[in-house]
């Protein structure tokens, strides 16, 4: 059948199962929007392209499907870059479609032209400039395949306007043929058996898991490994929800703001089993003192992740789910009473704790109340900074795809638009963006999106009047010289919510925290809760940058 490029694209998206397309129209994507007008794909108009990109990312993280965003050429495309970089750093499958000027104008400094392929080259897994309409159907199929296989990541399709208007006979590609792209899924069986022997004979093992557990959908297998082998598990920020934190073998999160017991356990471990994690500097701290006595087993789909920052004794390249299914066959139960007693003692001596107060609202208390009120049915998104760390520490995550946060890039302004994508992908969940008063303002324009479409996202602003994490570093490491962190002149968030057509609640008293959360959860529409928290509260424990992870500020041992 003869179709235009726009029709071919939209039909290809439908074949890929795309439900939602997040974006903003513009000059060169007009032919595409004309086709979208009658398509079953629901177009979600955001108020800034960055919001569209993060919404696609939030949708992808919450559902496991590819998130798709669309922007026009030039500024539309460049506005997507932060969202693309965010997805790249956290290995999230999104396809970003950008309009481009006519093929013969490319390179001419045409109106709204930007070399988006060049700009995004270091932050995409792959990218395509479509120069011939006959390639379009194949390219879309490849883009979705590349985005959501192997180590996931963003793929960009740059689409000149003339290509969207040209016509050709649509040929639907049967198979993806990419000779240079062959991710390895099955782990080497000898390595797996070797790993099992080392684990079985270990005395002080720790399992350290990351976002790979979530992507590979193997939290069941991870629980199997942990229980079968009697192995304690700590997760990274990206790995939260991959292992139930209410389990007695859970050590919670490790790293810079991890639990003391997770960091102590890793430091004293004799075998460290890393699965779908990449030894990020926020996890390892001073690399020479990271797990200094441990044999390291590293299971990862990306061979380039193995041996990148730490020496690995037993590398296993492949998909975590496949490998764990195989590995679990050879693991047997070992008592390890001494080790587990030691961990229990660390937990008793150094629990995550804060000084609660009778009148001032503590941010940790707010998170605990949100966790309790949600009764396990919430998806939490966060911004970046103290809000993110308190959410990671004080919300008890038990299920995968329930904690969405910009871990690698650390993008303030991520949480709110990501919550939009998550809510659309999971309409039955309570989706809460835990925000700071600084970061919420980085994509606050999306209040318009949620109000108009009545997307019932809840925003909990932990309002301390500061760019709190920076203030904390200045307090601890810069002699309390608070430079550029005071947010004097914040808007009235309640009025702001109302101005956009959402609900807003101001919470200044501790006793109002829980009732307000319950009230907000009962409202079938977007709500902002402005919690005025203790402005001096810090995130502890904390490993100073570059320090060994067992040397924490704010712990007993």
């Amino acid at each position: 059948m003869i179709k235009t490029g726009s029709q071919i694209l939209v039909d290809a998206l439908i074949r890929e199962g795309v439900e939602y397309l997040f974006g903003i129209p513009g000059g060169v994507v007009l032919p595409l929007f004309d086709v979208l007008f009658e398509s079953p794909i629901k177009f979600i108009l955001t108020r800034h392209e960055q919001g569209a990109g993060h919404a696609a990312d939030g949708y992808a993280r919450a559902t496991g499907k590819v998130g798709v965003c669309l922007a026009t050429s030039g500024p539309g495309a460049t506005n997507l870059t932060t969202a693309i970089a965010t997805a790249f750093m956290d290995s999230i499958p999104i396809v970003a479609i950008t309009g481009q000027v006519k093929t013969f104008l490319i390179g001419n400094d045409a109106f709204q032209e930007a070399d988006i392929i060049g700009i995004t080259r270091p932050i995409t897994k792959h990218s395509y400039l479509v120069k011939d309409v006959k390639d379009l159907a194949r390219i879309v199929k490849e883009a979705f395949f590349i985005a959501n296989t192997g180590r996931r990541g963003p793929v960009l399709i740059d689409l000149p306007v003339d290509v969207t208007m040209e016509k050709c006979e649509e040929v639907i590609p049967a198979e993806v043929e990419l000779p240079g792209y062959k991710p390895r899924y099955e782990g080497n069986i000898r390595q797996i058996k070797h790993a099992a022997e080392v684990i079985n004979s270990s005395k002080q093992p720790v399992v350290y898991t990351g976002g790979g557990i979530i992507t590979s959908e193997c939290s069941k297998e991870l629980l199997g490994l942990s229980e079968k082998g009697n192995l304690p598990v700590t997760t990274t920020l990206m790995g939260l929800g991959g292992f139930p934190e209410d389990h007695n073998l859970s050590l919670g999160m490790l790293g810079m703001h991890g639990t003391a017991y997770a960091n102590f356990a890793v430091t004293e471990s004799d075998v460290l089993i890393a699965i779908g994690a990449r030894f990020d500097d926020r996890v390892t701290g001073k690399i020479d003192e990271f797990a200094p006595h441990a044999k390291i087993i590293h299971i990862d789909i990306d061979p380039a992740s193995i041996g990148k920052t730490v020496r690995v004794d037993i590398p296993v390249v492949g998909d975590a789910k496949n490998i764990l299914q195989e590995l679990n066959k050879y693991i047997h139960f070992t008592e390890r009473k001494e080790w587990l007693d030691k961990i229990r003692l660390w937990k008793e001596k150094n629990p995550l704790s804060y000084k609660n107060s009778g009148n001032v609202i503590k941010p940790q208390y707010v998170i605990e109340q949100i966790c309790d009120a949600a009764k396990g049915n919430a998806i939490i998104t966060t911004e970046v900074g103290q809000n993110q760390m308190w959410a990671a520490q004080y919300f008890t995550f038990t299920k995968p795809r329930t904690f969405l946060s910009s871990g690698g890039l650390g993008t303030m302004g991520y949480g709110f638009p990501a919550a939009i994508g998550a809510q659309l992908g999971c309409p039955d969940k309570i989706v809460v963006d835990i925000a700071g008063d600084g970061s919420i303002q980085m994509n606050i324009q999306e209040l318009s999106t949620v109000a108009r479409l009545n997307i019932p996202v809840k925003i909990a602003i932990l309002n301390n009047g500061y760019l709190g994490m920076v203030r904390q570093w200045q307090e601890l490491f810069y002699n309390r010289r608070y430079s550029g962190v005071n947010l004097n002149g914040n808007p009235d968030f309640v009025k702001l919510a109302e101005a956009y057509g959402a609900k807003g609640f101001l919470v200044e008293k501790k006793e109002d925290v829980r009732p307000t959360i319950e009230k907000a959860f009962a409202i079938k529409g977007p709500v902002i809760m402005d919690f005025r928290i203790d402005p001096t509260e810090n995130v502890f424990p904390m490993v100073p940058a570059g320090q060994a992870i067992h040397r924490m500020i704010g712990t007993m041992a």
């Binding site: 080259r121 792959h126 400039l129 240079g180 041996g307 990148k308």
Partner: protein, 159 residues
């Protein structure tokens, strides 16, 4: 350490940019780069020479292998391979010195490809060391201009 990295890639727009970006993005200078079609016109061979820390270059090699359009990456360092550069040199050559220069060129199995009133153009292929050796002998006559291709490399034996 000096690394000779050989890549087999799809002959497509943007592939070279991705590869050089990966290397320069990690702060390495590319000492030499050669790109050409292979026996299969859909594929190109890229040979890159780069100096740097072995562990970091191992990481670079792995990252290059992840580029979708890269089919194969080989680091020839510590392997048995043949490497060649092509150089063309324009050398000062007063009429009386022509014989001497031709003799040097012959020893190195180079070729005179152009003769002018006051200069000669010499073409020579070989290893970097051979090229440098000939160049040092030609220097006293005065080198007017020099162009050099990137090294190309191929493994010995059945591969």
């Amino acid at each position: 350490m000096r690394h000779v990295i050989s890549l087999l890639v799809e002959n497509k727009v943007g592939v070279l940019a991705r590869i050089t970006g990966l290397i320069s993005g990690r702060g390495f200078n590319i000492d030499s780069l050669a790109v050409g079609e292979t026996e299969n016109p859909d594929l190109s061979r890229i040979t890159i020479i780069v100096k740097g820390d072995d562990a970091i270059l191992e990481q670079v090699r792995k990252q290059l292998g992840k580029v979708i359009d890269v089919l194969k990456v080989v680091d020839f360092t510590n392997e048995d391979f043949v490497e060649r550069d092509l150089m063309m040199v324009k050398v000062n050559c007063p009429i009386g010195k022509r014989g001497e220069i031709i003799e040097i060129v012959d020893i190195f199995r180079g070729k005179i490809v152009d003769v002018g009133q006051k200069d000669l153009i010499i073409e020579i292929a070989g290893t970097e060391e051979k090229l440098e050796a000939m160049l040092s002998l030609l220097k006293p006559y005065g080198i007017k201009e020099l162009v050099q291709t990137g090294s190309i490399a191929i493994a010995r034996g059945a591969k």
